[in-house]
């Protein structure tokens, strides 16, 4: 017998009688959040910054003042092509993105209770982009911020081939529990809300 069948047979023989699957009633977790205030608070808790903006152009000019020394820059948001110093079509392998300083991506889903922003294959020409960049900038519209993870998954019927909730810059506390921002992923996260 293959290991597959062996494992499945044993589980079938050893499992208890079928128990019912509980239903999730998301309304019982609803504490009546002020969604935007909570989102901003939680992004700060997880180590990110939130800025308000009105247009994509305003995002670009603000990013240029925050990171004046950035050399290699890439943005996927509409109408900001002039910002890019990188042509992804010339990138043969993801490893060549190692020196990327700034990446700007627009997201269509964020969560207030934990400051997480969803980014997926839908927005990412290459999956490694939001991890390999030194500084990550995410843009999200107010109406796309949901209160809890339950509502986020109601919207996420399709997670596409790859998708990730990003909450703050990468971090670690593995040396004596001291929090250090900037482990393997982005060193900073700035979120523009429009």
């Amino acid at each position: 017998m293959s290991s597959r069948d062996h494992i499945l047979n044993r589980i079938n023989a050893n499992k208890p009688e079928l128990l019912t699957l509980p239903n999730i009633d998301a309304s019982i977790f609803d504490a009546g959040l002020n969604v935007m205030a909570e989102f901003i608070k939680k992004v700060e808790v997880v180590g990110g910054n939130v800025l308000e903006t009105t247009s994509n152009d305003a995002v670009i000019s603000k990013v240029e003042t925050i990171f004046p020394d950035a050399q290699i820059k890439y943005s996927t948001i509409a109408g900001t092509e002039a910002f890019n110093t990188l042509d992804l079509t010339t990138i043969k392998k993801s490893q060549d993105l190692e020196d990327l300083d700034i990446l700007i991506i627009e997201s269509d889903l964020a969560v207030a209770e934990n400051g997480a922003v969803w980014v997926s294959d839908k927005q990412l020409p290459l999956r490694v982009l939001p991890f390999i960049t030194k500084h990550l900038v995410l843009v999200v519209s107010k109406e796309n911020v949901v209160p809890y993870m339950h509502q986020a998954y109601e919207k996420l019927s399709d997670t596409s081939g790859f998708g990730v909730f990003i909450a703050g810059p990468s971090k670690t506390a593995d040396i004596e529990q001291s929090l250090v921002i900037g482990a393997h992923g982005a060193l900073s996260l700035t979120i523009f809300v429009k």
């Binding site: 499992k15 081939g161 593995d174 529990q177 393997h184």
Partner: protein, 459 residues
């Protein structure tokens, strides 16, 4: 060695024990603050428990559903009955892809299977990329905690390790500098890697996708750069539907570190163009644990580590004292199911205070299971003579109230009257490193009777 023998090694450095104890209690405290912000947290735990219990009762069906969907997504699924087969499958995939350099993100399962030494013996380079895991890998030690692998090391030890292995400058243990150097060192490893190995936090039957949670971004750096991604999971990582992630991702990080969610919750479903994705589903004793009604709930575990952070024994004995891949209270109910004799002392490494069960995000009755293992172990494995005899004596004393009263009188008198040198003499383990309280003049029984008598008088 028994848990208590290994614990006494850790206990030699009292200052370190104090630090370890306080650091973990601080994490427990952060957990409390974070969960108190969640409305109906207890209901969320009930859901976590209920979904996992249902999953186990229908596990074979969900595993097949998961496999079919993963295949549809272009992911290759493998099955391993035990650790050896798991390691062989990993090696075979690596060889087929001519992979020599492997980066790994945290996976307790690969620790359980002792994958690293197996691959290294085949001449492959395996680099753990979680900072804590890299630290213990350089120190040639196993992790001592499932979320904080290097919690037993202080910053100066890390400083020395990095000087020796990474050529860093002496920095008086500056975490910022050391983390920065580790980032540079591991960035190179990510860039060069031929294959990436990750664990799995949740595997979704409905979609065939799986979720990996990290704070450092190491799982993603590995998986998206290397041409091959191998994800290893125990059979119990399955959840039926994607919406259940809403429950478990709310529970996991808050219970683990007090964060509202981990920095990255990465949802892998299909390999990127031109890349390969493999999933290895591992049993290694899990289906046997499923057969034990008293202990099957231990398979609900989502590996948050909250039971370790809160455990008064774990905090003071350190993770290595358990000598098992998963230490702490949850490890003490999982390990005896694998080898009752080898792990026979672990269920006794507990005060049965129940704090572990109180913080468990999926409501595993950990302390009740510890007690049940004790019943089995005392019957099935030989117990030390003194313990056996003293239990028999205590049993007979407790069975007869008049005898109990006499012994109580003598004990109270002794604690009041005998010199400390006698009370704390060697045979009394309770007198080690602590003074016993002064014996009260009356027993609770006497006190109660007097109180009742006074009551009637006053009436």
């Amino acid at each position: 060695m028994s848990h208590s023998q290994l614990a006494s090694i850790f206990n030699k450095d009292e200052k370190k024990v104090d630090w370890h104890d306080k650091a973990l209690w601080f994490v427990r405290h952060k957990r409390d603050k974070s969960v108190h912000e969640v409305k109906n947290w207890e209901e969320l735990r009930n859901l976590g428990h209920g979904i996992k219990a249902h999953m186990l009762s229908n596990l074979d069906v969900y595993l097949k559903e998961f496999e079919a969907n993963a295949n549809k997504n272009g992911v290759e699924v493998h099955w391993a009955a035990n650790a050896e087969e798991h390691n062989q499958i990993v090696l075979k995939i690596l060889q087929e892809n001519n992979a020599k350099k492997i980066v790994k993100s945290k996976s307790m399962l690969t620790e359980e299977c002792h994958l690293n030494p197996y691959l290294e013996a085949e001449g492959l380079e395996v680099i753990d990329t979680d900072l804590g895991e890299r630290i213990v890998q350089l120190a040639k030690e196993p992790p001592s905690h499932i979320v904080l692998p290097a919690i037993h090391k202080n910053r100066h030890e890390v400083d020395e390790l990095f000087q020796e292995h990474l050529g860093t400058k002496p920095c008086d243990g500056d975490p910022q500098y050391l983390t920065g150097e580790a980032r540079k060192h591991l960035r190179q490893k990510f860039i060069e890697a031929d294959a990436a190995l990750t664990g799995v936090n949740f595997a979704i039957a409905e979609t065939g996708g799986f979720v990996v949670c990290t704070n450092e971004g190491n799982a993603d750096m590995g998986a998206h750069l290397a041409p091959v991604h191998i994800a290893c999971m125990g059979v119990e990582k399955i959840i039926p539907r994607q919406e259940h992630l809403g429950v478990f991702l709310r529970l996991l990080a808050r219970s683990a570190t007090g964060q509202p969610v981990t920095t990255y919750s990465s949802h892998f479903k299909k390999p990127a163009d031109g890349k390969k994705m493999h999933i290895i589903i591992v049993d290694n004793g899990r289906s046997e644990q499923l057969s034990r009604p008293d202990f099957r709930a231990s398979l609900h575990c989502i590996r948050c580590g909250a039971c370790m952070n809160t455990c008064p024994i774990y905090r003071r004995s350190g993770g290595h004292s358990y000598d098992a891949t998963i230490p702490g209270p949850i490890g003490s109910i999982l390990s005896p199911g694998k080898d009752l004799k080898q792990y026979s002392t672990l269920p006794f490494a507990s005060t049965l205070c129940g704090s572990c069960s109180d913080v468990c995000p999926v409501k595993i009755d950990i302390h009740a299971q510890l007690y049940k293992w004790r019943q089995i172990i005392t019957k099935e494995t030989p117990q030390p003579f003194i313990k056996k005899k003293s239990m028999e004596i205590m049993g007979s004393i407790f069975a007869k109230p008049s005898q109990f009263e006499t012994v109580g009188k003598i004990a109270r008198w002794s604690l009041r009257s005998l010199p400390k040198s006698m009370i704390n003499s060697k045979p009394n383990a309770w007198g080690k490193a602590r003074d016993l309280p002064l014996g009260p003049k009356e027993s609770f029984d006497d006190w109660y009777k007097n109180r009742e008598a006074n009551k009637t008088k006053n009436d």
